[in-house]
Every structure is written in C-alpha cells, then in structure tokens.
Symmetry: C2
Subunit: 449 residues, 2 copies
C-alpha cells in the first residue's frame, strides 16, 4: 500500500469516527514501518484531530510503536500542553526514548509541562547512558512484599497490571526496595492459593546493574530464556526491568554497528535514511584516510621497484588481480572470524586451532587460484616465466591474507581493541602493500631482476 | 574457569551425589558455552554415570541447552536404548534438532528404539525444512475447547503445563484442530472466573504456516511483541508454536549468513570451529573465482594502455592507492545499504533519495581524498601534472564507487537477487577495473598521451 492510500484510509476512518478500526490500522502500519511517512503528510489540523480521536492513551501507544525520532517529530506538531499529557500516558521507557530524541532545551519544554512525579521518573531514566541497562529499562514493573500469599499476589497483580509492562514476573522486594525474589505468573498460577510468596518465590536471581552494557544484558536475558531481566542499582535496589521485546532492538542495533565497522565505516548511530550526507562523511572519512595512509606506502614500494617495472611492464598487468584476490581472500576470513567472535563461537585460546585450519584452507585456495592465474597469464601471452611468477605470488599472497585475516582479530581482542576494526577494507589494504612486496621479491628471484 | 577445572567440579559433585548442585553447574556452564569441551574429555563410563545421576529428564534438558551437533555427539556415547529414552524425555523441538544433526541412517537407529508415537512426532518435525517455521516449531502447545470457562481453562492449564513449552498462551481449537482463538495467561488471570473462553479469547490471530521462512516468522513474532507464534498447516490446523526464545537463535543464524555473504563467502551453515578446511574451501572458492574472472579484465585494460605505462611509469605508483580507495569507499556504502535493507530501513522506492544522498557524500569524500592524494603525489616527486591526474581520478572513482555501491544492492533486490551478493569484495573488484579505465582516460586527456 502506497503512503497516499494509507493516508486516505486513515482520514476516512477519522471522518467516520471508527476509533477501533483506526487504532488497528495505525498499529499494523506502524509495525510494518509504513506509518511515519504517511503521518508526515498530514496537516497540523489533521494531526490534532487524530490525537483527539485516539485520546492520550492510544496516541501514546502509537508513539511507542514508532522510531523515537519519528515519534518526537510527531509530538512537536501538538501543543506542548497536549504533548505533555501524551508523554504521561506512555510507558515510561518509551516516553524516555522519545524525549531523549530531542536536544536538551526542547526536551525541557515538554518535561516542565508534565506532572512533577512523572517528569522526575523520565529525568531519572534519561540520566543513564542510552546503551546501558539503565537506559533501556522501564520502571513499570510489579513489586510485592514477601509477606503476601499466592492468592493475594494474584489480586495485587490484577490491580497493578494496567500500569505494568509485563505481568509475567512479579518481583519481591523488602522495605528498602532491595530485590529479594521473583515469582513467575506461571509459578503463581500453578501454586496452591495459600502458599506464602516467601516460599513460592525464586531467590536464585539473575540481575544486571543500571550500568551494565545493554548488549551484555540482552545476552543474559537470552541465555537464561527470561521474559524480563531485573535491573538493580549498586545497593541491589530494584530500579527497573528489561523485557524480552527490548532484546531484538538491542541485538539489531549492536549487530548493525558491527556490520558497519566490518564494512570499514564508523557506526552511523542513526537510521540510514535519516543520516545527512555530512553525517555520513563524518562516519566514513576517518577510516578512508587511515586506510589511505596505510596504503600510501604502496607508492613507495612501486617507486623502489621502478626499474623492474620498466624492464617487465607485463608485471603491471597482474598487479590489481594479485592484490585484489589477496584482499578478497582476507575479507572472507576476517568477516567470518569477527562474526564467530561476536557470537562467542571463537575465543583467543582457539588461535592455534584456527591458524592450522586457515593455513590448510589457504593452501587449497591458493593452489586453485594459482592454476587460474597461470592460465590467465598464458592467455595474455606474457610468457611462461611471468606466469610462474604470478602463480607463485598468488599462492603466497592467499596463504598470507588468510592467515593474517584469521589471527589479527583474535590478537586485537586480546589487546582489548574491538576486533571489528579489522574490517574488509583494512585487510584488503594491508594485503595490497605486503602483496606487492611478495610479488616483486618473487619476480626478482625468478626473473633474475 | 578452564575446561579441566569444570570437569573436576562435575566429577566431584557426581561422587558426592549432589544432584541439584550438579544440575545447576551443568546448566550454567552450558549457557556460558563452556560445557561441550568439558564433557568431551569425560570417559564413556563417566558419561553413563552422569546420565544415571541426572535421570532422563534432566539429562534431556541438558542436551537441549547444547548446540545440536554437540548434543548429538554426547548422545552417541550412551547405549542406543538409553539414548532413545532421553530423546523421549526432551522437548520435541529440541529432540528433533538433535536427531536432525545425525545423518539419516544414524537418526533411524535412535528413532526405531523410541516409542512409536514419540518417534512419529519427531519424524513429522524432521520432515519440514530446517529454515522454515515447521522446522523450528514445537508441538508442545496447550490447546483447549472454546466451550470451557476461564476457571476451567486454568485447571486444564495446570494439568497440561508439565508437557508444554509455554503456558503464557492457551490456544483454542475446534474439533478438527483448526485454530480459532488464543487466550493469554495474562488475559486468563485478569478475567472473571465464569467468563466463557469463547468470549475471552482473541480471534484477530497472527499466524504463520509450516512453510513460512523462519526469518519472516521471527520478524512477525518480534513486530507484534508476541511470546509465541502459532504455526498452522494449509488447512489452518494448529501444528505447533514458535516461542520467543527461538527468535534470537533464528536472528543470530540469519545475521551470520548475511555477514558471511557481505564478506564475500557463501554462508558456512555450521559453526566455524566445527567446519573442516575442505568445507571452508567449498564455501569460499566459488566467489574467489567469480571475482577473479571479474577482475581478470584489469589485465586486458592494462595491456591496452601498455604504451601509456611505458611513457609515464609514475602512473603505476598510484594504481593500488586509487583503486584501493575506491574499493574502500564502495565497501563502506555497500555494507551500510545491505544492512539497512536487511532490517527494513530502506526499500527500492527510496532509490532516488539514496542516490542524491550518496552523490553529495561522494563529492565531499572525493574532494578530501583528492587533496590527500595530491599532497602524496608531491611528496613522491612525480610532478604537478601527474598530481592533478591522480586527484581528479580519485574524486571521480570515489563518487562512482559510492554511487554504484548504493544503488546496485537495491536494483538486485528488485530483480529478486539476494542483495548481499554485492559484497565488499564484489564492489572492490568492480571498482578496480572501472577505476583503471577512469584513471587512464583522465591521464590520456590531461597528459596528452
């Protein structure tokens, strides 16, 4: 469905006042990622009408389904007073994401209009770095006292459920909010009604602190198959929960950063379509220049071998092919190893196993490529001796590229450098220079130059 | 903790007969990915002792926590009779994964020893392709009749909970097993006890079929924030469910495949450490050869310009630098765009927006690199005219690389080719040849060759 069709359907449902159908259409198109474009074409009057038709709760839910910058954009089209009401109606973690998408001055315009308690809650959430458990958590959890019975807990749960992000876990805290146990809804439903919470609760707790990296929190939640992970402060007081639906967002974001690094760019930190050209330049230019400097010495190598080049111009014909193939072989192995490290399949102590595996692989790949380049040399009619030079060179370069591509990320991780800096362009650049040295050494030896 | 320490702790707990502590140690080390190595060092007698101490249920749970090939390996160390009992005790989807890790003949040895009903269930699951919803689902769901009341549903749930993978959703089916509704445990707990299931259930169902691609199923489950997604056959009969803990496995597997493709290799389809060198060769050689053939024409280009090269050898000095920088710029944009397409941020109709954005970015990056390469040319003392040639070339090559890198993945997707075939090595190879053509055209024009 094109954006204009969606807009037509939305305005039609608004005119007809079919609120249920409208909410369902908006929610589904938001989940399919098609809503933001459509809403951007509505007039301010239509946006106000939409907000009135939906009411604060449903409009807030809708904002929670959008990307925070899109939601923030939409919010600025309401009166500040109305926007503050919508923010109050939203889940606090979603509201914090939206407010966090504004710069500080704009964020404050909304916060000062909100109820002081709710504004304080948002300010607290905004005080944590966005990539920490504190920055991801929601304070909308259910906590009860250990002195209740199972049936009383169910009653408490019914009362508190409306405000809670999940009711699948009920947390048990003491008077000072220290987390002392957890009850799953499953456990609660399956327990006899008279069981004291203190006996039914699980005390072998899996928690993270507000400063835990969001990726680590996501990995823990996944490894333990939890629906929510409690986040505590340094004193063990329950501050919030991260729910399982946050995990896919976190993993998507972290994986995107890894992939962008592997491609030889700094992470964009915002969605591609929203990134302005000058932002893209800022993220890419640094590595382009570093790689340029790394590659600049190829000029020095070639200048050094100027007389060789003048003697056998045919050597030049194979330069891009030889160093290109080396770069490709290196890129294959670097991407595979960095990913295997990222998902925990490979660690530093596997280094000798990997080295042995890649050297065998490199020999097989190198021999195949040597045969290919020898045939190509004969086709170009450059003579058998140059053919032998390029065949030996490509064999050596492939083994070298595969070996260095495999162990460099492991060594960097051991040195506490992010292994994804060994990007495909990085290894290609490294192999370009060293490959030329190999090439001219082999040529010098065999051709007697 | 090193594997030998873990083995020591495991054997100590076995000797002491501390079953609870042993289970907890095994489960936690399995989740941290450290268990398989440790278990591989145990003797067959010790493995039998471990299986006896744990019992079929706990040993089966343990296998469910391991990677299927590791679990399969462990299973072969038990007597076939005992292994069959363990498989019967496992969650059917986990058991199917383990049996699926054997070749057909070996799998059959276990299946014929199992109870016919349970073996038939596994054979059914194994009949679906592993990357489909059918291949991922578990048949261990809870289904009830619409004629029950909420309180009766809770009783049914208590009775059925032991065998079920999740009790957070109760599915409502008719006499022919057609899925007609779903009740969340949340909805059930919050409903008055006398409510008929028919009234309390949700009928606006989100489902997939057994043949739906696993990645699509994972995206739907995530987009709708579900804890489980029902899988139906062509007739709408409920066959199984995919639970939210499957999603991270699916996404991890699919993302790994995308990353390996982006690095210029075919997906490994098994864990890196388990892959033998000959398997790695098989996955890499195809693309290396395709790229080699694509790059081989650079030799033709260079042979064509042989007289130019002999006239101005200095042009050779900059060849790796110019085409390398073009390849790096192309790699940056390809990885970013392919990832943005993968997460649904970018679609084909954005092509002109992207083209405009990347051309602006390319001009800025190209100007910066032109300044850098001009300085480098002066440093190498090759003369201002060659400096001007390389500066103009790098500007053109960067704009070209960035533009083609941005739109090629979009066009391929539109042609229903996987955009990840436009890998970093692919774009680097493409830019190598075309970059040389640009280089010699500019040189010919400016130097009057």
């Amino acid at each position: 469905m094109a954006p204009e069709d969606l807009v037509r359907d939305i305005t039609k449902l608004m005119r007809e006042g079919d609120r249920e159908e409208l909410i369902s259409l908006l929610r589904n198109s938001a989940r399919e990622g098609r809503l933001s474009d459509a809403l951007a074409t509505l007039s301010t009057r239509e946006i106000h009408e939409l907000a009135d038709t939906l009411g604060d709760d449903a409009f807030g839910d809708l904002l929670g389904e959008l990307d925070p910058p899109d939601a923030a954009q939409l919010l600025t089209r309401l009166a500040v007073r109305d926007a503050a009401d919508v923010l109050e109606a939203m889940d606090p973690d979603d509201a914090a994401d939206v407010v966090g998408a504004f710069d500080e001055a704009d964020a404050n315009r909304f916060l000062v209009e909100m109820e002081p308690v709710e504004a304080a809650e948002l300010r607290q959430l905004l005080s944590y770095a966005p990539d920490t458990a504190g920055g991801r958590m929601t304070p909308a959890f259910i906590a009860i006292s250990a002195d209740l019975r199972a049936d009383q807990a169910v009653v408490a749960l019914r009362q508190l459920s409306r405000e809670a992000e999940t009711i699948y876990y009920v947390y048990v805290t003491d008077e000072e909010d220290h987390l002392i146990g957890v009850l799953s809804l499953r456990g609660l439903v399956l327990s006899p009604p008279q069981t004291p919470v203190r006996e039914a609760m699980v005390t072998d707790l899996v928690t993270v602190t507000v400063n835990t990296d969001q990726e680590e929190a996501a990995q823990i939640l996944t490894a333990y198959n939890l629906l929510a992970l409690p986040v505590v402060d340094e004193q063990g007081r329950l501050q919030g929960i991260i729910t399982s639906d946050d995990v896919s967002d976190i993993i998507e974001q972290e994986t995107t950063e890894d992939i962008e690094r592997l491609g030889g760019s700094a992470p964009l930190e915002e969605s591609y379509l929203r990134a302005r050209p000058v932002h893209l330049v800022r993220k890419r230019l640094g590595w382009l220049l570093v790689l340029f400097l790394g590659q600049a010495y190829t000029g020095t190598v070639l200048a050094f071998y100027e007389s060789t080049l003048e003697a056998v111009t045919a050597l030049v014909f194979f330069m891009p092919l030889l160093i290109g193939t080396g770069g490709n072989a290196g890129s294959q192995v670097v991407t595979t190893i960095v990913r295997a490290m990222g998902v925990g399949d490979v660690v530093f102590r596997d280094i000798f196993k990997i080295l042995w595996k890649e050297m065998q692989t490199g020999v097989m790949l190198g021999l195949a490529m040597a045969a290919a380049v020898f045939v190509r040399a004969l086709m170009l009619g450059v003579g058998v001796d140059v053919g032998v030079v390029v065949a030996i060179t490509i064999l050596t370069v492939v083994i070298w590229a595969v070996t260095v591509g495999a162990i460099l990320p492991l060594i960097l991780r051991q040195l506490r450098v992010d292994p994804a800096v060994v990007s495909a362009p990085f290894i290609a650049t490294l192999v370009d220079g060293t490959g030329l040295l190999i090439y001219f050494s082999v040529a010098g030896f065999i051709l007697g130059l």
